[in-house]
Every structure is written in structure tokens, then in C-alpha cells.
């Protein structure tokens, strides 16, 4: 009989107190690392700020059309289920990191859970704190928060996840013309975000494909700068989108949205790449493809754990002997699949650090 959590064949690194890995963040990166470590017989404690596991991707909807469109959302579901059942993985939700002392391989950590404080020893700390969604209110010209029918991709995801439908927030009706605005909060000099969020082109295209499948009568437009491929199945996805006559891919970013609060005919203004002139068009639902930004408290965590950052403010890997590891989207935008393989790679590095598996 296999006891996955007992049979530790991993050699003990001299001076390592016990092999408890503290994982900050229960996003797909944190969860996957915990699972992989448990397979190798290393126990871990997951610290999660929120009251639920899974991070951002836990509330993503399935974006399949006649077949799976490889958004990886359901994989996150599976992993959440798996992690909450494994022993050898301790989960502390609604908890945050307090003070840290000790040395690499033997950290002493203070943890705040609710009002309580507890202590914990950790041989390794993994930072998998993920990213924030871009706050679309920072682009006032699109009127997010002002117009009810301007929503973010995250809102759309949550709507599809919980209700299984796409509805206009203003009146609960199925929309007839949906526009997706790309690069909201990314590739944007005016807000100093000089990075591409990598996933948003693909997720918007998948959304459109899924919506068109569920509601063949809906017409969708996709306003973009450059289309970024993501993963191997992207080629066929893009081809299918190009073939679809009621899916318009328009190489232009709208400059402004006009309307009133509950308007179901929001006017948008953009340069039409075909005619070359400034054009106006009406839509009854506008979806902003928001990107990813470094977390609000990224600096705080970085200072506490001495994690270096890159120019954009995402984390870089600390030196290998620091006992601190970094994984997932907090290293810079990446998709779920990318976060998973990154987490696997990190789990192996941790195991090796803990005593040359």
C-alpha cells in the first residue's frame, strides 16, 4: 500500500528543520506546487488571503464551443478538488504572513488567521501570489463603472460561470452586438504598463467563439493592435474566428465610448482600418479585455522576503540558496497552462534544494 505522504525517500538536507514548505497563495501555481511536492513526499502549508482556494482562475467559465477551446479553466477546478483532499497539505485560508525570522532552510514564520496569530516553521517559502486584474476604472474613456453595459472580461467570466448565460447588466436581456476591446491596461504608455498580458487575445477570441456557439444570432467585434498566439491550438482557433462571418476582427483600438448609464446602444469611436476614416458604431455590450498588473501589495511581500523585481514590477527568482522560490503569474503574465508547468518546475527545484531528491 502506498502512503504518498509517508514514504519520504528524499534525503534530508543537513540543517533543514523539517520539510515543510510554506506556499503563499492558493492560485493554480501554489496548488500545483503543493500537489507535486506531496507526490514527492514533501508536506506543505498553503497560506491564502481569501476565503477560497484557486486564485483568479477558480471563477473562470468554460469557453468551449462545439469542442473544448483549451482555456484550462476546468483543470483548475480539478486541482482545487485534489488539493483539498490530500493529507500532507495544510490549508490556511483568510490568513496572511506576519514577521519572518530564521535562516534559509529554517524560517520561523508568524501567521495571522482572522484575529489569531500562530507560528510555523518552514524550510522553504514559495511565493505564488499571482497578479491583480487591471482596474478598468483607470481607463475612464471606456466608461467602466459608468455605463452598466461596459463590463470586464472578468465580469463576463463570472457571469458565465455562475449563470451559464451572457446577459446585458442593464436589463438582463441577451445582447445582440458585443464588442471586445483588447489591451485594456496592457501595452499602454499612458498608464506606464509596457508589457503584453499574453493571455487576453486568446481568451477574448475563445469567449467570442463560445458565445457565437451558444447564441448564433449575436454579432461580435474584436478590436485589437496585434493578435498574440497562445499555445499550440491557437492556430485553429484563430482560423475559425477568421472564417466566421459574424465575428469581426478589427485592427484598431477605440478611443472612447459614449452613452448613458443604462444605454443599450453604446456608441464607440475608432479609426476604421478599411475606410481609414473615423467611424462610430453601436454595441449593446462592451467587454474590456483587462490585463494583469503586479499585485497591489507586491512591494510589501518583496521587501519582507527579499524577492527581487523586474522593471515592470513582477518578481524575479531569488538566488537558489535563499530558500525562497517564486512561481506562477507573479513572475509576469502567463496563462494557466504556463503557470502549471512553471509550478511543476519549481516543485522540482524545491525538492532538489531540500536535499537532492
Amino acid at each position: 500500500m502506498i502512503e504518498p505522504n509517508k514514504a519520504v525517500t528524499v534525503g534530508q538536507r543537513p540543517g533543514v528543520a523539517d520539510q515543510n514548505v510554506l506556499i503563499l497563495g492558493s492560485g493554480i501555481a501554489g496548488i500545483t506546487t503543493a500537489l507535486e511536492l506531496s507526490e514527492m513526499g514533501i508536506s506543505s502549508t498553503i497560506l491564502e488571503r481569501r476565503d477560497r482556494l484557486g486564485g483568479q482562475a477558480a471563477v473562470f467559465a468554460c469557453k468551449a464551443s462545439e469542442k473544448c477551446n483549451k482555456c484550462f479553466a476546468c483543470v483548475v477546478d480539478n486541482q482545487i478538488q485534489e488539493v483539498s483532499r490530500r493529507s500532507g497539505i495544510r490549508i490556511l485560508t483568510e490568513s496572511t504572513l506576519g514577521k519572518i525570522s530564521g535562516d534559509p532552510g529554517r524560517f520561523k514564520v508568524q501567521i495571522q488567521s482572522g484575529g489569531n496569530e500562530s507560528r510555523l516553521e518552514a524550510s522553504v517559502i514559495l511565493v505564488a501570489t499571482g497578479v491583480d486584474f487591471f482596474n478598468a476604472r483607470q481607463k475612464p474613456e471606456y466608461g467602466y463603472g459608468l455605463f452598466q453595459n461596459v463590463i470586464t472580461a472578468q465580469d463576463l467570466d463570472e457571469m458565465l460561470h455562475a449563470k451559464g448565460r451572457v446577459l446585458r447588466p442593464s436589463d438582463g436581456q441577451v445582447p445582440s452586438r458585443i464588442a471586445f476591446f483588447q489591451c485594456v491596461g496592457s501595452r499602454d504608455e499612458t498608464i506606464g504598463h509596457l508589457w503584453c498580458s499574453k493571455v487576453c487575445c486568446a481568451y477574448a477570441l475563445r469567449f467570442m467563439k463560445a458565445i457565437r456557439h451558444q447564441y448564433p444570432e449575436i454579432e461580435t467585434s474584436f478590436f485589437y493592435i496585434d493578435i498574440q498566439p497562445l499555445g499550440r491550438s491557437f492556430e485553429s482557433l484563430l482560423e475559425a474566428c477568421r472564417q466566421d462571418e459574424r465575428m469581426h476582427l478589427i485592427r484598431s483600438l477605440p478611443s472612447k465610448v459614449y452613452g448613458h448609464r443604462t444605454s443599450t446602444d453604446l456608441r464607440i469611436r475608432f479609426i476604421d482600418p478599411v475606410s481609414g476614416g473615423i467611424t462610430e458604431e453601436g454595441f449593446d455590450l462592451i467587454v474590456l479585455s483587462i490585463g494583469m498588473t503586479p499585485r497591489e501589495d507586491a512591494d510589501q511581500v518583496a521587501d519582507l522576503l527579499h524577492v527581487p523585481k523586474n522593471e515592470e514590477g513582477f518578481y524575479r527568482s531569488p538566488p537558489p540558496d535563499s530558500g525562497i522560490f517564486v512561481s506562477g503569474a507573479c513572475k509576469g503574465p502567463r496563462d494557466i497552462g504556463g503557470s502549471i508547468i512553471d509550478a511543476k518546475a519549481t516543485a522540482r527545484e524545491i525538492a532538489q534544494y531540500l536535499g537532492g531528491v
Partner: protein
């Protein structure tokens, strides 16, 4: 009071997708008909034509198969095989005078709780219109 006809539905659910989606229906607190029976199978490919027939024979007014979306099956082809089997059975049903609508397949993922509920309710209404299964 005359009880209105409440069609009995047997839903074969793939453990990797359909069953989890069915659980999600509960978590979302959506309602399902009481006459729904959920049969959990490791993969939709496990479902034999025989089981489908058995269900119809033993008094189900409708049978639903919940399988993974195509290209997202841990056993690669389980969902496709289930679909093929359904096609085969549709042929038989036609011959013995059973409406094809009584057997249907729905592809979904773990996070499709809402779709699960909607599909069941839709089928429920459809079967209500069709009336009880003529099978003894």
C-alpha cells in the same frame, strides 16, 4: 389531485466532468427535478449501449449522457465513443418506435454547473410534452 406527469430521467455522468458539474449545481443551489437519477461512470466511454437500453427499459422516460467536451477527455476518445454509441442507439430506437429525443448527450466541463441544470430542465420539459415512455 391528479399528479402531473413528472418524467423520470437517468443521467449518466462522467466522473471527470458531468458528475462534478452536477455537484456544482448543488453548490449554486439551483434546483433539479426530483425524478432525476444520477449514475456516475468513470468515463462516458464506459457506457454500454446495453446500459442505455436498460435504462429505457426499466422505466426511464429519458436518458442523458454528460460527457467531457471534445478534446478535453482524459481518455481521449471516451466522449466520442459515447456519442457514436448514442447514434447507434438512436437507430435502434427509431426501429422500435421510440422517440430519439429520449436519449441525448451533452458535453460539458467541471465548471458548467449552470449548463447541467439547464440541460436537465430543458429535457424535462421536452419529455413532459412527449409524454411517458411507451416502453413497458
Amino acid at each position: 389531485m391528479v399528479e402531473s406527469f413528472s418524467p423520470r430521467i437517468v443521467a449518466f455522468c462522467c466522473d471527470k466532468s458531468g458528475y462534478v458539474a452536477a455537484d456544482m449545481v448543488g453548490k449554486l443551489r439551483l434546483s433539479l427535478p426530483e425524478s432525476l437519477d444520477i449514475v456516475r461512470v468513470p468515463c462516458a466511454g464506459r457506457i454500454d449501449a446495453l446500459h442505455l437500453l436498460q435504462a429505457l427499459e426499466k422505466g426511464a422516460d429519458g436518458v442523458l449522457i454528460f460527457a467531457c467536451h471534445e478534446e478535453n477527455c482524459q481518455s481521449l476518445t471516451g466522449n466520442i465513443r459515447a456519442k457514436a454509441r448514442m447514434g447507434y442507439l438512436h437507430g435502434i430506437m427509431e426501429r422500435i418506435g421510440l422517440e430519439k429525443e429520449r436519449l441525448d448527450l451533452c458535453n460539458l466541463a467541471t465548471n458548467n454547473g449552470a449548463k447541467f441544470a439547464e440541460t436537465v430542465l430543458q429535457k424535462f420539459d421536452e419529455l413532459k410534452k412527449l409524454g411517458p415512455s411507451p416502453v413497458e
